[in-house]
């Protein structure tokens, strides 16, 4: 392979990695060094920022809170999206196409639209500042997405598979759990990934619906900037840690992710 052909991907990857590198490098610097001027490597290498995050409850609680509601949301979304997607993929009923499209329209409004009604509603029924509040709010966006992705994967499985299972004597629940879910396992993985990612990165609703007890990492990160002056090193470390869960989750579905972006349709 000629040199320039090898060079192109190398440069491409370098450009892609640059912001992430910058974030990592900042997270190992002191705030003074960051503010002091340009440096490619940490001159005064420190783990102080990470130690602070893992020891200060206001920081690590943020992560725990976020992970809690994200997992709750993912489980709820998939649990409800599975039967819904099955119905859309296997049955014809009155208004099925309209209903299916309506689901997707839920994603068309910006979260800001729903922030106020959710806030008011949750405050009224004592759900404000709980994990489930955020998890439920995110369902508004994640269930439609999961239904669309799962429906695509399910429609790729011939209906005869269902029939054959019934002929063999499987009851519906047993067929669904033992045969159908494994058959669309990659779709479930992809849908779960998308729910996880959306819920993990979403900031507005999580910030609006929590204050102390269920405060998310996104809220913690953005608030710190205005309290004790600029703690840039700390923020960079928090940012670097925020990338990790996504990276772990995407590893499991890396082979199917493209199909997920096309909502399961080939």
């Amino acid at each position: 392979m000629p040199l320039y052909q090898r060079l192109v991907p190398v440069i491409y990857i370098l450009f892609l990695m640059l912001p992430i590198y910058w974030l990592l490098s900042m997270s190992f610097k002191t705030t003074n060094e960051i503010l002091g001027g340009f440096s490619l490597f940490p001159q005064d290498f420190t783990l102080e920022n990470y130690i602070e995050i893992f020891t200060d409850p206001t920081w690590y609680r943020g992560y725990l809170n976020s992970i809690t509601y994200v997992l709750m949301n993912t489980v709820i979304s998939i649990t409800f999206a599975l039967p819904a997607a099955y119905a859309f993929s296997r049955f014809r009923f009155l208004g099925d196409k309209h209903l299916f499209f309506w689901l997707l329209t839920n994603r068309m409004a910006p979260p800001a639209v729903f922030a106020l009604p959710f806030f008011q509603l949750y405050a009224a029924i004592d759900l404000y500042d709980t994990h489930i509040a955020v998890a439920l709010a995110h369902c508004l966006f994640n269930i439609p997405l999961a239904v669309w992705i799962l429906e695509g994967f399910m429609s790729g499985v011939p209906k005869q598979l269902d029939e054959m299972a019934y002929i063999d004597g499987y009851s519906f629940p047993r067929f669904f759990v033992k045969i159908f879910m494994p058959a669309i396992a990659s779709g479930i993985g992809v849908a779960a990934f998308f729910c996880f990612m959306y819920s993990w990165v979403e900031m507005l609703l999580s910030k609006t619906l929590t204050s102390v007890a269920a405060k998310s990492i996104a809220a913690t990160m953005t608030r710190t900037a205005s309290t004790a002056g600029y703690e840039l090193g700390l923020l960079a470390a928090a940012g670097a840690l925020t990338i990790i869960p996504g990276a772990i989750v995407i590893y499991f579905v890396r082979n199917y992710i493209a199909k997920g972006f096309s909502l399961g349709r080939v």
């Binding site: 598979l161 029939e163 063999d168 499987y170 058959a183």
Partner: protein, 356 residues
Amino acid sequence: MSIELKNITKVVDGIIHIYPTNLHLRDKEFNVLLGATLSGKTTLLRLMAGLEKPSSGEVWFSGKNVTHVSVQHRNIAMVYQEFINYPNFSVFDNIASPLKVAGKTPDEIKQHVGEIAELLKLSKYLDRDVASLSGGQQQRIALARALVKQASLVLLDEPLANLDYKLREQLREELPRLFAESGSTVVYATSEPEEALMLSGHIATLYEGEIIQYGKTTDIYRRPANLASAKIFSHPPINITKVVKSKSRITLPGVADWPCPEVFQDHIDGEYILGIRPHHLSLKNLEQSEKHIRISGNVQLAEISGSASLIHLRINENDWISESGGIHPYSIGETINVYMNLDGCLYFDHDGKAIH
């Protein structure tokens, strides 16, 4: 298990898929449903399976009304044209699946699956993934699953249509034997007349959602009840033309005339329809036999199918096909003689009803 369809119909969105149909299949018999695509073969199978409910009428198994019994409780097996297997199971688990659901012990399952796998030459692949096998092997897995269940009714929906030639030939021979040994009643849907003949047993000919005729395969082949049945059960297509009967002679206008067969004698004179299968128009010189008459025609096309020649002829106003064994090259436009076997002539009246 005997199967009875009592006056069943199937209407979907105002379109009639099955006209009122009655059918009685006896216990342990091999039955073929023969008809073109969209003639309703699959729908009939699905109605028997219980995958679809009839719009009216009843389905009876061994004298019991099972119209509202669910698929799970009908004790049937089915093989689809497309190779349908459980994608996330190994070959062994695929074949074992009906036994597992029925709650058989692991030892029993192992033994049964082993026997069936041996029979269908799948023993080598039991640990493999289904997706890694060829189409033929996948279909054999589906057949194995149908066999291992020892269901009282086995439904086969064009199971060999997507297989390659060699494998199809082989399985065609084996299937009736395999299922005869298992003691199941079999219903086999196909669109190929040759396949139907080879499988033998009983046959029901279907045309546009109606059962035209039901009976022993050989009887129906020799004596189709009407024109539709004769057309369905003939490959290459049966030659059809108008003939005139007057007194004791039958005339194919401008071509030939021959004595009227006895069964036909007491019908009134007039126009009738003659159907003659291509293999009853022979290229061999059989003039000596009084059962054959000579007809000359113009070669339009000569094609070779397997080890037989199909000669498309223009005879007076009719386009006919003659089928003979061996390879016979002819040039287009040539005038040749063919010999029509009078015993092979089928006569129908205006409504297409057979005379015999």
